[in-house]
């Protein structure tokens, strides 16, 4: 079982729940599992090619998964996965 922290922006899809307990062996497997449990969540974090959206960061045990093996990163029992929106300003 792993814990997934959900940011406020997605809690409307999880009935307000901030932490989910999910089984899965990789980051990608866990995130897709959330999508099947909470429909609509997947399209918010993955683009049409199934890649993490540009403004979505996922951290496993506080490390950006882009520094690990991305969605293929193995997840150990009891590790915490955080979904965090990137903080960008924008212009124009």
């Amino acid at each position: 079982m792993s814990t997934v922290r959900v940011p406020t922006q997605l809690r409307s899809l999880t009935a307000g729940v901030a932490e989910l307990e999910i089984h899965g062996s990789t980051v990608g497997e866990i995130l897709r599992k959330i999508d099947s449990d909470y429909p609509g969540l997947g399209e918010r974090i993955f683009d049409e090619n199934g890649v993490l959206r540009r403004f979505v960061n996922v951290f496993l045990a506080e490390e950006d998964v882009r520094f690990l093996e991305g969605l293929d990163t193995p997840v150990k029992e009891n590790q915490v996965l955080s979904i965090v929106p990137a903080v960008a300003g924008g212009a124009n």
Partner: protein, 413 residues
């Protein structure tokens, strides 16, 4: 002045009310402030600005604030200095330095914090907070003290000592995190979800906060006699400042303050030990691959720059370039600026000057251009970086003979 219409997602254009929101709920894209530019154009004028205070608030019509109850220590309208000696060394006869080292807490961050906390008060938020590499911490702590707000500033524990001391003096809470800036930023992004009544200036009120950097463009245009420069060189940490300077020049034209449409080439400066945006530019990528920072320019040590993508876009679109410079070149840049112009900049300023020199050498910056280099932080904040390279020219005994000896050897050089 109420010319703010809404917040708008930069990616999918969905609109949101004027609240402490920074991310689109649908696509996670960044939110930005949408203005009624026609309204601004009919209200604003060069004369009205000239009659305003000598601070960023002379441009209030172009900032995302409704009232006039500003949180301000007297921020902005810093000198634009004609850099004759430095220009001569670099072969740039029309070079100017925007000297933002002289803001109340010694960096350009006072601009964004003044806007962010003014907005925070309008939104009824009580606690000022931030993730910071130091300059922002100084500014948030100081402005919160002035406004009587509680403050929590989060910094990497390995920050320059001076920046920690100059933050804690203001009496707020300084939380040092065992990690780098990206760790601090991630923690604050998560905390912002848990503490919705706090104003994390660079997280949940970032849409307003980042607008403060536009004043760096407004002031330069006004100080040049209401014209835009041909080329600007801007240090890049998150990339936000660079995109906002570009936006600022374009807005001035949009609201009728500039007669000619500006075509400002925008170039970015990074430290080689943390150059994810410069590397993406050089490789022709349109995405920015995060890095683990290792540089003395700690105020620019952001390995996963939030606005990196947009900064790349602006630099490419305007025909600018990127430079990245080593720690040694940074110290040389700081020395060069100090010795030619009498301005003591922090390490980030060394990055800017060294990049300016590099781009001038490469011919990217042309000698016929009006060039402005943005020097955004004070050298007293990062003296630790100079400990090994700067010191007394001579150490002597307190006698006339001893001095005569070194004076003679000095004169013979």
């Amino acid at each position: 002045m109420a010319f703010v219409q809404s917040l708008k997602c930069r990616e999918c254009h969905k609109t949101y009310p004027i609240e402490a929101l920074h991310v689109c709920e649908f696509c996670f894209g960044p939110l930005e402030v949408a203005y009624d530019y026609e309204g601004i154009a009919s209200s604003i004028s060069r004369e009205k600005i000239a009659d305003g205070p000598p601070t960023i608030w002379r441009y209030a019509d172009l900032l995302p604030i409704d009232g006039t109850d500003y949180v301000s220590l007297g921020v902005g309208f810093t000198p634009l200095v004609r850099a004759r000696s430095l220009g001569e060394e670099l072969g740039l006869p029309d070079l100017w330095i925007k000297n933002d080292t002289v803001n109340p807490t010694g960096s350009f961050k006072d601009r964004v914090v003044s806007v962010a906390l003014t907005k925070a008060r309008e939104l009824g938020l009580k606690v000022a907070a931030c993730a910071s590499t130091g300059n922002l911490a100084n500014s948030v702590a100081a402005h919160a003290a002035w406004a009587g707000m509680e403050s929590y500033v989060f910094i990497p524990a390995n920050l320059e000592k001076a920046k920690i001391i100059t933050t804690s003096i203001f009496g707020g809470n300084v939380i040092a995190i065992e990690g780098n800036y990206d760790d601090v930023n991630r923690l604050c992004a998560e905390l912002a979800s848990e503490e919705p009544t706090w104003a994390f200036v660079n997280v949940n009120v970032r849409a307003y906060y980042s607008e403060g950097s536009k004043t760096l463009a407004y002031e330069v245009a006004e100080q040049l006699g209401w014209r835009a420069p041909d080329h600007v060189v801007v240090p890049v940490g998150s990339g936000s400042q660079l995109t906002k300077i570009h936006k600022g020049f374009n807005e001035l034209y949009k609201v009728g303050l500039l007669d000619e449409e500006p075509h400002v080439r925008v170039s970015g400066a990074q430290a080689e030990g943390c150059s994810p945006v410069a590397a993406a530019f050089a490789a022709g990528h349109d995405y920015v691959r995060p890095v683990k920072p290792n540089t003395i320019a700690k105020s620019l040590a952001i390995g996963n720059p939030a606005d990196g993508f947009y900064a790349l876009e602006v630099v490419r679109k305007t025909g600018g370039s990127f430079g990245s410079v080593t720690d040694e070149e940074i110290i040389d840049g700081m020395s060069l600026l100090a010795r030619t112009e009498g301005i003591f900049a922090e390490t980030a300023g060394g990055v800017t000057v060294a990049t300016l020199a590099k781009l001038a050498r490469e011919g990217v910056i042309k000698s016929g251009e009006t060039v402005v280099a943005y020097i955004t932080g004070n050298g007293l904040k990062t003296v630790e970086a100079l400990e090994d390279s700067k010191g007394p020219t001579y150490v002597i005994k307190p006698t006339l003979e001893a001095f005569s000896e070194v004076y003679a050897s000095r004169r013979s050089k």
